[in-house]
Amino acid sequence: MRERARIVTRWGMVIDLDRCTGCVACEVACKSENNIATVPPDQAAMGRAKSWMKVVAEVEGEFPDTSLHFYPRPCMQCDNPPCVKVCPVAATYINDEGTVAQIYARCIGCRYCANACPYTVKYFNWYGPEWADSERQHLNPDVSVRPKGVIEKCTFCHHRLQQAREDARAEGRVLREEDYQPACQEACPTAAIVFGDLENSTHRVRQLKDDPRSMRLMEDLGTAPKVYYLRPRE
């Protein structure tokens, strides 16, 4: 059997809504990192565009008393993920470190998980991805391109963890907080996204998740998301 240090690791994210300016750099960075193809205009109009990270805006009030909040919304990586329970073939599962992953090669495309996810973060490949020939050159070789007919979603940039592990092993050291950071975090110009191990007291996410401003989306559902939000100040 595989031997594993009995240290629990739970990767998680804290998004500071006070810092987020809704610039959507995270969205595009995620698309670039994870080979997310666009769909043609008519398809987008049908609601088939994909964006594993989506900055959702909530508007309140009318001019001139308007207010607006941005919620950058990746997969919540629930500790108690409804999507995992319903998948008939375990193509979506929660791994040892709490990350909810997808096995594209196993998914039968029933979209049950997508319906079960209360955050609507699962995206289906209604058609196969389309890249212009020239655009294939910028595809990230570390991330597989999803074929048609399967579900996909934010993976917490899992391939980066594998890479970081390999690098750390090669250099003979333990994995540091900054070794494994997802693409959205890396791009965010206001450092609104913080990523790390929720169980590791030296990681910033661990401290921030206990901040008084901390909350999770639809906490009452009991899905126990590993993505926390810090409410705007004031």
Binding site: R106, N115, A116
Partner: protein
């Protein structure tokens, strides 16, 4: 009809003559309708080919409207399938004598419709090529898997439940030699209607009719659970299991009524599907329309009182929003029309039940639509929900083909098996009148003894 067949037929009893005639005599209308239905079926196959070839993108589905026509059809057809087996099983168990002429047509609906229902989720798969993963990588916490199992079992048991009571009739056809002797020799499987065989047969039927009831209930309960096990507004509801079962039986009765009226006309079965059958089934329909109303009312009232924002969005979308037309049409079809027509003796006629039955079938289809679509387009997290759903011609073609295929197979089946159970009618004529009289006698207080005295 060939001359020798006609002669053979002429030698048989009047029941047999009427009921076997469709097996050997086929009208022009039959061929024309069959050809038309076949054409629709092929068109649907072509549509499915396109869908496989190019992807589910050819449907009108999207995010968050992940499920559409196929899942609606799935729930609907599996619902219809409760017609048969469940009704015939209950009537058999309850020893309702008036069942004798209607069980066969109902059981036939069941078997055929399960098949068409069961393929819907496969049509709906993004990767039908991987459908078997459901066996290789089964994940037992998924209600979808329970569903696969229960439908499998259901199909299996219903087929047997259709087949076993068929044996005496198959043997009869084999012995009469009016049609395909080799085929019927094979189908009849050595059944010769000896008293021992008959006794065994009746025992098996008795057991099957008991067994099939929980299986059928489980099937539609689980289908309800597929929805209820998610956290989506107006799906996540404990009432869904029983609600779905009730609805399934309801739509099943509606479907049988329609089938009976049609069969009665085309095969001149007025003597078998009598007014009393329609009257009794009409009463059942009335009962179920009230049940339906009760369940639906309970469901919506609880939602309304809970007044959770996400649920209310779906609620209002149905009551007065974009889904008001399908919703109120559903209420009309599934409650108002059947209730009004079936509550009066004067309209519990074949014609009245036909109208009510069709209204129920349509209403129940819409019920499935109203369950699947409004919730789909209103996810809990409403900030970005701007969804809409318009089925594509591919989906509509496949749906049409499913209906056509079902009707076609049913038609063809009536050319191979008597649509009214001959031996059960015979049995009814020969034995049950007396049996019933005896039975009724046992219900009554014994008039020869004074009260309090027990016969030893």
């Amino acid at each position: 009809m060939r001359h020798d067949v006609r002669e053979k037929l002429a030698r048989m009893s009047p029941d047999e003559q009427t009921l076997l005639r469709p097996l050997v005599e086929t009208s022009r209308t039959f061929y024309i309708s069959a050809a038309a239905l076949g054409a629709i079926g092929l068109w649907g196959l072509y549509a499915y080919y396109l869908q496989v070839r190019y992807g589910l993108g050819r449907t009108g589905l999207n995010r968050p409207e992940y499920w559409g026509i196929y899942i609606i059809s799935f729930v609907f057809f599996i619902g219809i399938s409760h017609a048969g087996t469940l009704i015939s099983a209950i009537l058999r168990v309850a020893k309702a004598e008036w069942r004798r002429s209607i069980t066969r047509s109902a059981e036939l609906i069941t078997v055929i419709v399960i098949g068409f229902g069961a393929i819907q989720p496969i049509i709906d798969l993004g990767r039908p090529d991987r459908a078997l993963n459901i066996i290789f990588n089964a994940q037992f916490r998924s209600p979808l898997l329970w569903d696969v199992m229960s439908i499998g079992l259901y199909f299996f048991s219903c087929t047997i439940y259709l087949y076993v009571p068929l044996l005496p009739d198959l043997a009869l056809i084999r012995d009469s030699g009016i049609k395909m002797p080799r085929l019927y020799r094979f189908l009849a499987a050595g059944y010769h209607d000896t008293p021992a065989q008959r006794a065994r047969l009746e025992r098996v039927i008795g057991v099957l009719s008991l067994a099939v009831i929980p299986i059928a209930i489980s099937v539609h309960t689980i289908i309800g659970w597929i929805f209820a096990m998610t956290l989506r507004p107006m799906w996540h509801s404990t009432i869904f299991g029983p609600y779905f079962v009730m609805g399934a039986i309801y739509s099943g009765i509606g479907a049988i009524l329609v089938a009976m009226v049609v069969l009665r006309r085309v095969y001149h079965l007025e003597q078998y599907f009598k007014d009393v059958h329609f009257d009794y089934l009409g009463r059942m329909l009335l009962l179920f329309s009230l049940l339906w109303f009760y369940f639906t009312f309970a469901e919506y009232l609880t939602v309304f009182y809970g007044a959770e924002p996400a649920e209310m969005r779906v609620f209002w979308a149905k009551i007065s929003g974009p889904f008001a037309i399908p919703f109120w049409t559903m209420v009309l079809g599934a409650f108002v029309i059947p209730f009004v027509l079936m509550s009066r003796q004067a309209t519990r006629t074949p014609r009245g039940t036909l109208i009510a039955g069709m209204a129920v079938v349509v209403g129940m289809w819409l019920e499935r639509y109203n369950i699947v679509v409004p919730t789909s387009v209103n996810p809990i997290w409403e900030l970005e929900s701007l969804a809409h759903y318009m089925p594509s011609w591919i989906e509509l073609s496949i749906m049409a083909a499913t209906f056509a295929g079902f009707i076609l197979l049913y038609m063809v089946a009536t050319k191979f098996i008597p649509i009214v159970s001959i031996w059960e009618i015979r049995e009814g004529r020969q034995e049950s009148v007396k049996q019933v009289a005896d039975r009724v006698a046992t219900y009554l207080p014994d008039s020869s003894l004074p009260a309090g005295v027990v016969e030893s």
